[in-house]
Amino acid sequence: MTALVRTKNLKTYFPILQGIIRRPVGYVKAVDDISLDVAPGQWLGLVGESGCGKTTLGKTILRLIEPTSGHIYFDTPSEILEQIESAEAEADQCKLKPLYHAHDLAAFSGGKLKVLRKDMQLVHQDPFSSLNPRMKIKDIISEPMIVHNTVSGEERLSRSAELMKLVGLSEKHLPRYPHQFSGGQRQRIAIARALATTPKFIVFDEPTSALDVSVQAQILILLKELKQKFNLTYLYITHALTVAESVCDSIAVMYLGKIVEYGEPGAIFKEPMHPYTQALILSTPIPDPQRKRGRLVLPGEVPSPSNPPPGCRFHPRCSRATDVCAQTEPPLELRGQNRKVACWHPLV
């Protein structure tokens, strides 16, 4: 399978520093050993509760947060990926080192990273704080073009106007300031800014969680149009399973820094395999009093990621947990077509 973005055993740990010499006494394991492929043209939804590490994963892929270990490949030809895999199997360090140096995003720095940054963009969660209140919209949108030196001079303004039309705003909004716009319009501006460098891959970090449902639907439809028009690949981070279900091609469910289930949205909704996914689906309220599902209330809360429970991280809250779950961590295994689950006792 070709992959536009591939992460391999990606780990992002944040040290907990204590004492006068600030020595690390522990680690918050925000992203723990995640291997994920995003195919070109895919709309991958990353779903999980707050604190499960979904935003950290998105930002680590963009190298906005330094990974602790692991590899990220972005837009690497599949032959080279195969070469790396075979070299890894042989553990041939002489072969691996130049390959990592040339292709592993996690090892890049400086100019090499900057070139790649043009192809990958981020849209933040809160459109009220992601736009500089002192900059005009035209400056906000043309800043990425200045940084990456893609469009120069007069052309920048016409390109900004073009981008504004693409996201459903008009040219006359360009000389205004962010405070003159509503939440939905600001999110459109943020999307226009992300598109300014004609990226291939965009990470959306809960772009609609600060918006009303009617505006949320507008933004989702806009994203769908843009994706088709420019052949984009999306990583869509959200806490709302229903949003991911309605727009994404595939969904990865995260819990405490791990991916617990991966698959197509229809299949996940119809027969969730991981008990956590089932709990998420059942606790999401649906605006239909007739179709009240058997509600399932999970006991307890998400444990602290600095001290995750041993074995399966979900076992203290899981009704199906046995001794195996408390001792050994379940691997993310392929079950059925395009479906992965990390559970010792899957539901199906």
């Binding site: 509760e49 707050s50 509503s182 939440g183 939905g184 319009q185 009303d212 449902v213 009617s214 505006v215 949320q216 639907a217 507008q218 989702l220 439809i221 806490h239 709302a240 399973l241 229903t242 949003v243 279900e245 309605s246 727009v247 949205p265 229809g266 909704f269 709990a279 998420l280 059942l282 606790s283 999401t284 309220p285 649906i286 605006p287 239909d288 009093p289 007739q290 009240k292 509600r295 399932l296 209330v297 999970l298 809360e301 998400v302």
Partner: protein
């Protein structure tokens, strides 16, 4: 059914530099005894303003312009909350009507412990009860046979009893007030605080907080969002209010925690036999826990019906559009065109007409009145939507 609260034609305006913001526009709403009424709507439609108007919490530049809010707590006589004096409304806030706020982190004071904050409510509204319990506590110690209590401590207990009796007979008595102002001497009232703390502990257990005794001494930052919201709910229910206003209590929480809190609210509502005004923007939550649901737009109710009726046969075009915009499994969300109108310059006539697909000439000129289309189902729309929307879908 009996009406607990009757909101009649309430209008709230905010006089800002940009112009007059009409937050509530001739709002009329009845809340029955023992029901859960949901208020749904988008940002800025006046949901929270309704709650604030009931509790008279609207601060300048906001002003309640007209209308009345009749509150009938025990079925005998109703009082108009808008006509009450500041002292009288204070006695009602937190005891007969209480509120759970949206952001549990902001609703709690960061420099007091959870126990202190719940005790404060109890000492404010249930002081008489606490005093009689403290006196009973002293009496029980003195009455014990063969108790060799020393001279000094018995003397202190007698002073405590005297002071408590003094407050009991006259809450405004001067001596206890002076004693409470003097450092060290104010410790003579410690029994009062410990009784309040005991009640606070009971409340925390009531809202299913594990290890409640320890949580009592915790500061808000030591608790997770769900736990904080439970503590806020415990505080709101400390005086067993007749009417609880919940303003988006689960918006800041995760879905699994939200499910826990919703179940808790439902259980407590039945236990305390109170009415709940549940404000939310999530139609799914409203469908899950409400008996009746009112949809708000532009500062007034546009549709009000039983929960089953509203979600199955919505009549107002806005309700239909809002329901279609919610993403559901297997269905594409349908956006509502346009944006919420500028509150300083609302469109003339029906506030929804610029975004409405059924708008006619009359909608641009006249604001529709709330009318009853079938028993218990009210809408405010000029268009007879029952036929006009169904027919194109049949064709």
């Amino acid at each position: 059914m009996e009406k607990l609260v009757q909101i009649k034609g309430v209008s709230v305006n905010f006089y800002t530099y940009e112009g007059v913001v009409r937050a509530l526009n001739n709002l009329t709403l009845d809340i029955y005894r023992g029901e859960t009424l949901g208020l749904v709507g988008e940002t800025g439609c006046g949901k929270t303003m309704t709650a604030f108007a009931i509790l008279r919490l609207i601060m300048p530049p906001g002003k309640i312009e007209s209308g009345s809010i009749l509150f009938n707590p025990n079925g005998s006589e109703s009082v108009d909350l808008l006509q009450l004096s500041e002292n009288n409304i204070r006695a009602i806030r937190g005891s007969k009507i209480s509120m759970v706020f949206q952001e549990p982190g902001n609703a709690l004071n960061p420099v007091y412990t959870i126990g202190d904050q719940i005790s404060e409510v109890i000492l404010l509204h249930r002081k008489g009860e606490m005093i009689s319990r403290a006196i009973a506590d002293i009496d029980s110690i003195e009455g014990l046979p063969g108790n060799r209590w020393g001279m000094l401590s018995s003397y202190f207990r007698r002073i405590q009893r005297y002071l408590l009796k003094k407050i009991q007979s006259n809450p405004e008595a001067r001596l206890p007030l002076i004693v409470q102002k003097i450092p060290l001497a104010r410790r003579l009232f410690w029994r009062l605080n410990s009784e309040a703390e005991k009640t606070a502990l009971h409340m925390l257990k009531e809202v299913d907080i594990p290890d409640a005794q320890r949580i009592l001494g915790y500061y808000p930052h030591q608790l997770s969002g769900g736990m904080k919201q439970r503590a806020v709910i415990a505080m709101a229910l400390a005086c067993s209010p007749k009417f609880l206003i919940a303003d988006e209590p689960t918006t800041a929480l995760d879905v699994t925690i939200q499910a826990q809190i919703l179940e808790l609210l439902q259980r407590l509502k039945n236990e305390f036999n109170s009415s709940v005004l549940y404000i939310t923007h999530d139609l799914g939550v409203a469908a899950a826990i409400c008996d009746r649901v009112g949809v708000m737009y532009g500062g007034s109710i546009v549709e009000l019906a039983e929960v089953n009726e509203l979600f199955v046969t919505p009549l107002h075009p806005y309700t239909r559009a809002l329901l279609a915009a919610v993403p559901r499994p297997g269905e594409e969300p349908m956006p509502i065109p346009g944006y919420i109108p500028d509150p300083t310059d609302p469109p003339p006539g029906c506030p929804f007409h610029p975004r409405c697909s059924l708008a006619r000439d009359i909608c641009r000129l006249e604001r529709p009145e709330l009318r009853e289309v079938s028993p218990g189902h009210l809408i405010s729309c000029h268009v007879d939507t029952g036929e006009s929307i169904d027919s194109p879908s049949q064709n």
